[in-house]
């Protein structure tokens, strides 16, 4: 067995017992990336030299002191998370040459834990998309079937972990961008409670919905990485000031007495029958192990997607106004005035999907349309929050499919934006309500992975991780896929 095939929690033990060095491990992961990435296309930037240098430093440090459990473990980072001195493009021509002068909060945490960054991972441009096909630079392929998309927008983060070209990775989730690719690629992805992970240094898409979160091939690895990145940060005004437990130490797959809510709205017409069945079978297994199934209703779910696209695009149109070609990033070659420079820079720098979202956001916020769109969407969002609150009076977690179907083919939905948007139908409500949710593999349909999504109360990540661990124990941990 090659070193890249082990999970982070196994490697943590192997490193501390000196059964391998971080340098050997990092080399194995980099070799795996070199061998697979031509087919998978998960990486936008590989920083092999820096990674090996860091690994050697960690090995030397380990000889003298006790290190963090994830010290020396290679990690891949989504390309919208600012990494000091390392290209951060958001998979956009607009930032093709942007090298951040500072680290995101999560990178400070990752570096403080002495983890080894192997590179930056592909994504939909500015995290707008559900297939990673909107990247300006390249397409990422699903390691389980190279003709299929890995999901998006954190497609590179999920595909790298699935293929073994990263042990663990970080992504971001605005409407499902962690859970959806995790589901498509057969790995675990956690979207934390809004405010539990600082957004400082995350390139903003929709600030009231964005949240950074971890990917792993199993629940334990995901819990370990979440434990590293959560925590209060003064640099993010929405950061929650609270204490977090040791998630890994408290992992417990005993589901006896756990009340699992099943919302009928997530098992309706828009969801593939085989996917529903697979997810329900996984829930029934938990029932056999002592969990209770409770039927619940979340009536506004059918409007969530519409409210989501209005709110997220409104915020995006404002957030992306900063890209003007003046202080950083792409600037057009020829222009004859300031306005001309702005318009040409933005038109040449942004891809079509980003332009559509900016224009949708501009439209819903414009005079005469504001009340009919944005205000209505915000009211629906409040209804969604109320409905979740009522549901959590009756249950501890809510179980749904993470996606309405398994991974689709590359090119299948790219010409039809509304069809692409429908892939987010199971995930957007969570971001609107600021809740945590996890996608965990629970079997296959048409030989492609299916993800079960657990949604929890705010800051109930431990409950979600425990429930996901129970599912994982029934289906087994993911191993790197042969590609």
């Amino acid at each position: 067995m090659e070193l890249y095939e082990y999970s982070a929690h196994e490697l943590s033990k192997m490193l501390s017992e000196k059964k391998c060095s971080s340098e050997e491990l990092t080399k194995s992961v980099l070799d795996r990336a070199a061998a697979t990435d031509e087919k998978v296309g998960a990486y936008l930037t590989v920083c092999a030299e820096e990674a090996l240098k860091k690994a050697r430093e960690v090995d030397e440090k380990r000889a003298k002191e006790t290190l963090h459990p994830l010290a020396g473990i290679p990690i891949g980072i989504k390309d919208n998370i600012s990494t000091k001195g390392l290209l951060t493009t958001c998979a956009s021509k607009m930032l093709y040459n942007y090298v951040p002068p500072f680290d995101a909060f999560v990178m400070k945490k990752v570096n403080a834990a002495d983890m080894v960054v192997t590179g930056k991972l592909n994504m939909d441009e500015f995290a707008m998309g559900s297939s990673t096909e909107n990247s300006y630079f390249k397409k990422t392929h699903n390691p389980h079937n190279l003709d299929c998309v890995p999901g998006g927008s954190s497609g590179g983060s999920a595909a790298a972990v699935a293929a073994g070209s990263a042990v663990i990775s970080l992504g971001s989730d605005t409407g499902g961008s962690i859970r959806m690719p995790a589901s498509y690629c057969g790995v675990v992805g956690l979207k934390p409670t809004y405010g539990s992970v600082s957004r400082y240094g995350l390139v903003a898409f929709a600030s009231s919905l964005d949240q950074i979160g971890p990917f792993g091939r199993n629940v334990t690895d995901t819990a370990m990485l979440y434990g590293v990145i959560c925590g209060h940060d003064n640099m993010d005004a929405t950061s929650a000031d609270r204490e977090y437990p040791d998630f890994t130490a408290l992992l417990n797959s005993d589901v006896k007495g756990l009340k699992i809510g099943i919302p009928e709205e997530y098992y309706g017409d828009g969801v593939d029958n085989s996917v529903k069945e697979t997810v329900m079978n996984a829930v029934k297994e938990l029932e056999k192990q002592g969990a209770q199934i409770v039927n619940i209703s979340l009536p506004s779910t059918g409007y969530a997607l519409n409210a989501y696209y209005i709110i997220s695009s409104a915020e995006a149109s404002s957030n992306l106004a900063r890209f003007d070609g003046v202080k950083y990033g792409y600037r057009t070659e020829n222009y004859d005035s300031l306005i001309d420079m702005y318009e040409k820079t933005r038109s040449e720098g942004f891809g079509d999907e980003v332009k559509r979202r900016i224009m949708l956001g501009t439209f819903v916020l414009s005079s005469g349309f504001f009340d009919a769109y944005y205000k209505k969407a915000k009211l629906v969002a409040i209804e969604i929050v109320k409905e979740f609150n009522a549901a959590f009076e009756k249950c501890d977690v809510i179980a749904t499919p993470a996606t309405p179907a398994t991974a689709f083919k590359l090119g299948e939905n790219i010409g039809d934006p509304t069809k692409m948007y429908a892939a987010d139908i199971c995930t957007v409500t969570v971001n609107i309500a600021g809740l945590p949710a996890i996608s965990v593999p629970c079997g296959r349909v048409n030989n492609m992975p299916v993800g079960l999504q657990f949604i929890g109360r705010k800051f109930s990540e431990q409950t979600l991780l425990n429930a996901a661990l129970a599912v994982e124990n029934n289906y087994g941990e993911a191993k790197p896929v042969n590609v």
């Binding site: 519409n306 038109s347 949708l360 205000k375």
Partner: protein, 96 residues
């Protein structure tokens, strides 16, 4: 609803090429047709302040200590600028 893409693009400081205009119009119309399907929810009953529906939260001022964690030099901040001259960012002339 028909969407004036050229006008929207202008508001957003974008420019849509003529050969792409028809496709953008079709896409934007189908997106708007999708998102406009929203129920009537009473603003008063929901707890949303109808005068300030965009209000997200109170801003919290960061502490000086926290703000000082990334002490960036002028050259670090300007290192990504597309066009520089004498330590300044170059932009087109805006005042005659």
């Amino acid at each position: 609803m028909s969407i004036d893409v050229k006008h929207l693009a202008k508001l957003a400081r974008l420019r849509i090429e003529d050969d792409k205009l028809a496709k953008f119009e079709k896409d934007m119309e189908s997106i708007v047709a999708m998102v406009e399907q929203l129920p009537e929810v009473s603003g008063d009953a929901s707890g949303l302040d109808p005068e300030h529906p965009m209000k997200l939260r109170e801003d919290v001022e960061g502490t000086t200590e926290a703000l000082g964690t990334d002490k960036l030099t002028r050259s670090e901040l300007l290192a990504n600028a597309p066009k520089m001259q004498a330590g300044c960012v170059v932009v087109p002339k805006t005042v005659e």
